[in-house]
Symmetry: C2
Subunit: 361 residues, 2 copies
């Protein structure tokens, strides 16, 4: 049995079902949710915790919240972040109060970004980008972590409730920096409930499950004082890297596509990406593409093709050998270019947005 | 060799010189400082770190600061806190910029006091009490820890610089609550240097030395980024408890005197206190009192008699057997009553003080 999940590792989980079994993570049951989004329909969203609680809120129109954080280290995000935003958007469109915190404190303290720059990055780029990707600024509450005394107070208080060994059991290690960062995240996750106890959902990659577990432990331990509702979580798998190796990694810039990114550069990366095309044309026509290994197909499926019928047609043609890898790459380049142009337009529009719901403390 | 000092223990150190040797703490050399105060003259102040740096600031009139914290858990302090205030006052009167932080965050998070009550306690009681004990409010900068984002940012950043094992080496243990609390203290200690790098002195009991060492370690590790001056510290020994057992303890209310405290109650405690009087009058007259074991004599020496000649006369008469324990107790009761009345007057005056130098962030 896996002893712990390390949210700070760059490893990509190869066996999600084992991890899920070991840590008691539920399978995502699509019949519980209405109007599934692309990620839900296509098995990218695969699991979570306490999802029924959220499903009930949606179906019974009861209050709940969705929460996520922005790490404002640079004025760009990668496609993994786009998935998170799409998940937030789904819940926002299904009645969730939406909280987006800017982790300026962690960016400044742990990643060496000046606090002023961290805030500038968030205001100039991340918040407009999240809006460009579909969040409704009128329905979204943003705040800066470093402004939020209540979160810091919670973190401070929760520190008293967790022993070092419990921390190690969840995270595998326990350096002071991680402890502070994790406890601040727990504070952020529970902060919306200070005003009103209600279910909440946190859409993250499964590698962030330790933070969810820690939060749920803290909720159990502070029950008599706070009576927080244990937060639910919903997990999506990561987009594997274009070069077919593990998770996308900053150390291998060709392994991932950023937002924004020059179309030329995207084109180059897609052209170099690993596909499931066969060694010869003849073989390809006979066997069809091995789409399981095809990163360009993944890119289309996860990010670039919204319409299910369109994806189905491509899948059929590609696995039947009627479509070649080069053609699929061309299609991906065209779709990615359209997406990039669309994103640029939308983010410029969003930058003009003046009426953000920003908590200033 | 003692492996570590535990600032969270209620143990009283019996052998200061061993602790000092083990941890490289300097002896207090009274010739380095002008106009010694009562605690310095009488060996209550006995050690420190980097005291020469502070001595030079005083003699050369160079900028430096003195810093201390208020723990606003209840509207009273004990006499140990009075010693700290007297030390702060000494440095304030010798040119130090004075910073007093209110540890409302720690009071709320770790000691279960409501944040509003913590602030109220500080404003209604502790700050007036510190002024009553001699601090000049016009020369003292107060702030609430929970308001001070810069301190919290520093704590967050410093957490990245210390490993768990290093933390354990300093403190002996490392629970998340202690880590957060200690790092916040490090942030507080260095905060005045954010505006201006300068020496600083922290007057504390020796049991707080681990915080000073941690701070000095952090200063060394952040040298290239911050270039903080390592803080100096000055240590006083604790007043032993009136019942002759270890440190004063909240679990034994007769063991210590509080500020404020009803005169009746003080009288009762002094009457019950352990003295160095002999078993019979005859023996006492012959041998004189054993003042080393006499808690009432300690109380007079440390707190109640300012004038050296007056103390000398009492010491001579008591050790020669001319003064009896009962008489010394009577004297202590009279002096303590005067002090309590004086303190009450002064604190009421201080409560009218409107022009506090309070940083609001």
């Amino acid at each position: 049995m896996a002893k712990h999940i390390d949210p700070y590792s760059s490893e990509l989980f190869s066996d999600y079902s084992k991890i899920m079994k070991d840590f008691g993570i539920e399978h995502f049951q699509s019949e519980m949710f209405p109007d599934l989004n692309r990620l839900m329909r296509r098995g990218v969203v695969f699991g979570g915790r306490d999802l029924k609680r959220i499903s009930e809120c949606i179906l019974d129109k009861k209050p709940y919240y969705v929460l996520s954080g922005i790490m404002p280290t640079a004025q760009k995000i990668h496609l993994g972040t786009k998935m998170v935003v799409e998940q937030i958007r789904y819940f926002q469109e299904h009645g969730a109060e939406t909280y987006i915190l800017v982790a300026d404190m962690e960016a400044a303290a742990a990643r060496g970004i000046d606090l002023t720059d961290a805030r500038k990055n968030a205001l100039d780029f991340h918040i407009p980008a999240y809006i460009a990707l579909g969040l409704d600024p009128k329905k979204t509450t943003f705040y800066f972590q470093s402004d939020n005394r209540e979160v810091l107070m919670l973190a401070y208080e929760f520190a008293q409730k967790i022993t070092l060994n419990e921390f190690k059991a969840v995270y595998g290690s326990a350096d002071p920096g991680r402890i502070l960062s994790a406890l601040t995240q727990v504070g952020d996750i529970l902060f919306p409930q200070l005003k009103k106890r209600m279910p909440g959902i946190i859409p993250v990659g499964i590698d962030q499950d330790p933070h969810i577990r820690l939060t749920r432990d803290v909720v159990a331990r502070t029950k008599s004082k706070y009576g927080f509702v244990p937060p639910s979580s919903i997990y999506h798998r990561y987009m594997p890297s274009l070069d077919g190796k593990q998770k996308m990694s900053k150390s291998r810039p060709d392994s991932f596509i950023e937002l924004p990114e020059e179309i030329k550069s995207v084109e180059k990366k897609i052209k170099k990406a690993i596909t499931g095309g066969r060694d010869t044309l003849q073989e390809h026509r006979r066997l069809g593409a091995d789409i399981e290994k095809d990163m360009v197909y993944e890119l289309l499926k996860i990010h670039l093709i919204e319409d299910d019928a369109e994806l189905r047609a491509i899948t059929e043609d590609y696995t039947a050998g009627r479509l070649l890898s080069g053609e699929v790459k061309q299609l991906a380049i065209q779709k990615a270019s359209e997406f990039m142009r669309h994103f640029e337009n939308k983010i410029n529009e969003a930058r003009k947005q003046k009426d953000l719901k920003f908590i200033r403390f």
